[in-house]
């Protein structure tokens, strides 16, 4: 490979140089970034993106599989400071080759600035299948190193372990990339463990619990094999959460207890706090509020000691739930408000949504349907935004109940139907709840009227809910 000896940063800055120069001089720029490993691609993309943003350029990611006529796409949305990153070109073959070859001048006329992120076979296909287009290239820059090169390892580990994402799209992209990396690096036990563990958490976030558990168990096995105690504790804990979310509280307790033991053994305070909290949740689920409160308070104490803001917010919120369960609404609201403040402060969207939904529950319990609806709507928006399907189902279901109590049957039915869809898709045990709610509604309306309403609402349930959230009349 020709650029072997050149540092990574130089090659990234060469791409950046071409693009910013094209931007400054109002020129097109057709670049190819050739990569071997998805990890390195992601790394190069991030560095390049940072560099370009500093120069006032915007990145637009394009999935070629969805846009085969790339020249048309570039022409239709190109603005001077847009740089297109084209991915997945393989999925657009062979049509995209013809489009590129024939309409290559459109890229030039519109001063398109494009980086095609390609693998070796893809680049070969382009140079033979769209030779006239390829002749217009400015540069091919190679990122062909093996990703486990020691100097990149810390970044790789960091990426493999990363589980914090702000949106559903980010999560999906990360899952896709990690799955690819997993197959690339299957002989690297440690990295595989991190990837499997992280994938387990991410699948759980998008409510794929079966997959989450499958990956988590694999990660757990590797951690035990290679003697990674901290990893073992984390995997056990995450499995506990996944089992809990799947509705198996007893199994959740079993895993959390094992994880707690390891955390205490290796003095992992943060892990200890999480496991205690997890146990709290499991006992709440089993109806043992007193035990739950006990665990949550321990978890909260540690979180505060070690300055774990996120944990603090979550345990405060959960304490709210637990005290609400024993009938202390005033105390519950107090906890929720504290938790909400923290969630906003650290931009923990997920917990913000959870707290809002819990405030909805309290308002509903106090008979203030209007306020409850408002809280549920706010939480629903957040869950949709971050792709929390399970919680989305909860908010929709609860919102439906409020609407029903308000005799707004059309809205109620739309919420129930969407909740049912989601809960069916993610195999949520709470599906039973929504089914019961639908049955209640049917009884209240009478079979005939219900069927009439259902025929009307079912085809546009999503639209109705969208309008509710937009505040426009249904």
């Amino acid at each position: 490979m020709i650029e072997e000896k050149e540092p990574f940063e130089i090659r990234v800055s060469r791409l950046g140089g071409y693009l910013t120069r094209a931007y400054e001089h109002n020129k097109p720029s057709i670049l190819f970034a050739l990569y071997l490993s998805e990890f390195l691609r992601s790394d190069a993309e991030k560095s390049l993106e940072k560099l370009l943003k500093e120069q006032g350029l915007d990145i637009l990611n394009v999935d070629a599989g969805e846009h085969k006529d790339l020249p048309a796409l570039f022409s239709s949305i190109n603005s001077n400071n847009t740089v297109f990153f084209v991915h997945n070109i393989e999925k657009s073959f062979p049509e995209s080759l013809q489009y590129l070859n024939f309409k290559r001048e459109e890229l030039i006329e519109h001063h398109a600035k494009v980086v095609f992120w390609v693998k070796e076979e893809e680049l070969a296909r382009i140079s033979t299948g769209a030779p006239d287009f390829f002749a217009f290239r400015n540069r091919v820059v190679e990122f062909m190193e093996v990703p486990t090169a020691e100097e990149r390892r810390p970044a790789l580990v960091e990426f493999a372990s990363e589980i914090e994402y702000k949106s559903l799209d980010e999560i999906k992209r990360s899952i896709e990339l990690k799955e690819k990396l997993l197959s690339e690096l299957s002989n690297e036990a440690e990295i595989s463990e991190y990837l499997l563990g992280s994938l387990g958490v991410l699948y759980s976030k998008i409510s794929f619990y079966k997959k989450s558990i499958e990956y988590g168990e694999k990660a757990l096995r590797i951690a035990q094999e290679i003697g990674d105690k901290k990893g073992e504790g984390a995997r056990l804990g995450n499995l506990g959460i996944a089992y809990f979310l799947q509705g198996d509280a007893r199994k959740a307790i079993e895993y959390h207890e094992k994880a707690l033991k390891i955390a205490q053994e290796i003095k992992d305070r943060r892990g200890e706090s999480r496991r205690l909290g997890g146990l709290g949740s499991a006992y709440t689920f089993l109806g043992n509020a007193r035990k739950a409160i006990e665990y949550y308070e321990k978890a909260l104490k540690i979180a505060r000691e070690i300055g774990d803001k996120k944990g603090e917010g979550v345990w405060l919120g959960n304490l709210g739930n637990a005290v609400q369960n024993v009938g202390d609404t005033k105390k519950a609201i107090d906890y929720y408000e504290k938790a909400f403040k923290i969630a906003q402060e650290i931009e923990d969207k997920e917990n913000e949504g959870v707290i809002l939904a819990n405030l909805g529950n309290v308002s509903s319990a106090l008979g203030d349907t209007k306020k409850a609806i408002d809280y549920y709507e706010k939480s629903l928006k957040i869950f949709q935004e971050i792709g929390e399907r399970k919680n989305e189902g909860i908010s929709l279901n609860n919102l439906g109940v409020c609407f029903k109590n308000d005799k707004k049957y059309q809205e109620a039915l739309a919420c129930y139907l969407l909740a049912k869809d989601i809960r069916t898709q993610i195999e949520d045990p709470d599906l039973k709840q929504t089914e019961a709610n639908l049955k209640n509604l049917k009884e209240e309306l009478g079979e005939k009227d219900f069927e009439k309403l259902e025929a009307e609402v079912a085809p546009r349930a999503a639209e109705i809910v969208r309008k509710i959230l937009e505040g426009t009349s249904v």
Partner: protein
Amino acid sequence: MPEEYIVADNFNLALSNFDPSYPLPADCPFHVEREDKPLDRLKTALLIEHKQTPKYFFSGHRGCGKSTELNNLAADNDINQKFYVVKYSVKDVCDVNNLNYIDVLFSIGAQLYIQYVEAGKELSLELKKDLENWEKSIEKTFEEKTSLRTSLGAGLKAFFFTMQAKIKTEDSTRKIIREKIEPKLSELIDKINLIIADIEGKEKKKVLVLIDDLDKPGLDRAKEIFYNNYTAITQPKCYIVYTVPISIMFTQESTTLRDYQFFLPNIKLHPKNDRNSKHEPGYRVMRNFIFKRMKEELIESDALELAIKMGAGVFRETARIMQIAAYSAIEHKRTKIIKEDIERAEREIRSDFKRILRSEDYDSLKEIYACNEICGIEKIGHLLHNLSVLEYVNYENWCDIHPTLEKLINP
């Protein structure tokens, strides 16, 4: 397109001037005269009298200046004295993924009509009536077969525009148009010839149609158009220059086109079988090509000679080498491009080739490297297509491997 053609006195401007993606417009100051004026042969052929209007097939290596030369031909004084010139690119009027000879023929008629009318001129009333009747007969088919309507009664120009747009973008309509026109091909050709006759009568000139970018479809599609439907596409009674893919000239069927083919050769840089000596006129052209774009003082002389050698006598490839080298000089904060910068470009281009060459290709390349002969066209058609083998002309045709590949073949 560089808005101003200024000789670069810095690398930043040089990067622009050496952009590989710009064909030059006619009369551009960056244009270099080729030593052998290859287009003169085509020009001469067009200017002499013919009993039957000839059709020429124009090809050349990718990046050797076809579009540039075609632009020049369309703007040439002598040509414009004898001809009413209509030039267009198929990519503007046809669908790139689905091109057949009917589309090409229709585009000739449509472009003749549209360009003539857009120049503010008018065709005879009689012809317009005739075309309107034809238009109606086609539109009737549309009403029968689909609910689609062309803009009925909106005039012929609109008709041609709409039809062209449909051919370009609408799969189903294109199919209907082809189905409708194919059995009555003579009718379409007849209408094209009526338009030609009318323009020739009014302008007192012959009609010359120059069609660019017909070399872009793949070889199979090109064969279908130019061989299997040779009779049809040579029917219009005007002079036509079709661009065709270079690889089509190296197929067995190519004898059909032989008498009328014009090949725009690469610039010869050394005599056959003598890689170490320089063909000075070729180097002069390429030096000129470089110095029209960048000042001489920005490059060391040994770097310049190497850049020309590695550019293989292909303009675009030379431009690419200079662009990479200029960037390399910027990266290294140099005031002059040195040999090392050219060597970097050489390595990059070699890497691009390495990715696409198959193991059996190396044998062909070795053979050509040894004898400079075109040996077995079936083996090297695709190599000519991807520029790893280049053809040169003096008294006879010969070829050589791309100079960046020498280190692969003969390390």
